[in-house]
Each structure stands twice: as structure tokens, then as C-alpha cells.
């Protein structure tokens, strides 16, 4: 699946997007965050406060317990500040 990052999450991860193959057992957004944090300190830094970073699955806001099975694109970003 494709992962995309925005604002300071993008800056901390150091890329705008990437294609990943997630291992079996990574079923939810929270699982995905845990797996990403194990991939390097840039991810550790981006997700250091898991309560802050928001996620969307295929352009729809998603909670940590949301299932990611079959998702094409998962986004991570800070709380929104538009308007």
C-alpha cells in the first residue's frame, strides 16, 4: 500500500510518500504505526506522541482501531489547521 505524509509528519519522516509491504499481523492503523516506529528513528520521531498524529484511509479520516486491510492509500498528518 501507499503511505503519504503531510506537514511536520512529512518533515520528520523525510519523505512525502512511499510504497510499503506490511507484514501479516499488521491489521489496524495502530498496528501500522507500531510497525513504522520500528523502522527507524525518523518514524520514531514522527510518531513519538501517537495521540497527536491523525490518519486517513483512502481519503477518509480513520481512528487508530480502523482496519487497514485492502487500503490503497494511508495518510498520516498533524491535527488540521485550515480554514
Amino acid at each position: 500500500m501507499k503511505l503519504v505524509y503531510f506537514a511536520w509528519v512529512r518533515e520528520r519522516v523525510g519523505k512525502t510518500d512511499e510504497q510499503v509491504e506490511v507484514p501479516d499481523g499488521v491489521l489496524t492503523v495502530a498496528d501500522l504505526v507500531r510497525w513504522l516506529k520500528g523502522r527507524g528513528e525518523e518514524y520514531e520521531h514522527a510518531f513519538e506522541n501517537e495521540g497527536i498524529v491523525r490518519a486517513a484511509i483512502d481519503h477518509v479520516h480513520a481512528k487508530p482501531e480502523a482496519r487497514i486491510t485492502g487500503a490503497r492509500e494511508i495518510a498520516f498528518f498533524p491535527p488540521m489547521t485550515g480554514g
Binding site: 481519503h59 498533524p78 488540521m80
Partner: protein
Amino acid sequence: MAFTIRIQAEPFDTAAETASLTGGRADIGAVVAFTGLCRDEGGRLAALELEHYPGMAEAEIGRIAAQAETRWPLLGLTIVHRFGRILPGDEIVLVLAASAHRQAAFEAAAFLMDYLKTHAPFWKREHLKDGTVGAWVEAKEADDRATERWGHAPA
């Protein structure tokens, strides 16, 4: 009801957008227009940079607009949100809510703005007058509280 939703870098013209919403119609009795502008934060700010999530921004604003339509008897909606570099004094966002009577138009415009601020995927960063890139603007708890007053959130 058709919504007009646009995400664009270019400035917009509130009068032209209003004319396009109401032109040729006689059923609309009230249009409430909200325009959000870029402040200079006491002279500190050179510009705001707005990052957005293309695709999701349009989709999420569409969901928020659909939610407004189920709550109020609206006759038209226009939402324009800019991205990119925006200078102090320039416009950032436009919401036009049209209805037969003022109450629905006022409430729908307020609802739309509260949800846009907390749910539409846009992020602001400050560029300062001294030439440095400032911090990403932090989300305000007051905005979350303003959104919560509308009760159940759109999915």
C-alpha cells in the same frame, strides 16, 4: 442540491461567487458569506503557507457539505479553499450558504467553518518577516470545542 467546492491556489472574488450562486434564481432569501483572511499577527508574519492533501481535501469538504445539507434546508453552497503561499490581508477560505431564510444560512455557514477548520486536510505554516520559516500552526482546542457543539461528527 449542487455544491460548488474548489481547492485552488488563485485568489477568489466573493462578489462573483455570490452572483454565480444566486444568479437567475428567485427562491433564495438569504446568503451568508464567510471569508477567512490571513492576519499579519501583529506585523510578525510575511506569509502563510498552506499545505493540503489533494483528493482528500475535496472529498472531506464534500462530506462536510453533505452533512450540512441534511441539517438545514439549504438552496446552495459554495466553498472555496486556497492553498500555497498567502499574504497578510489576502483571503484563505470562502463559505457561501444560501437558504430561503437567514437562520439556516447563518447556522450552516458557522457549522461548515467549524468543520473545515478541524476536519479538512489543510496545514498552515508561518513565514516570518525576518526571512525565517516559522513553526507549523498548532491546532486550537477552542476549534475542537466549537466543532463539538454541533454534536455528532460526519463519518
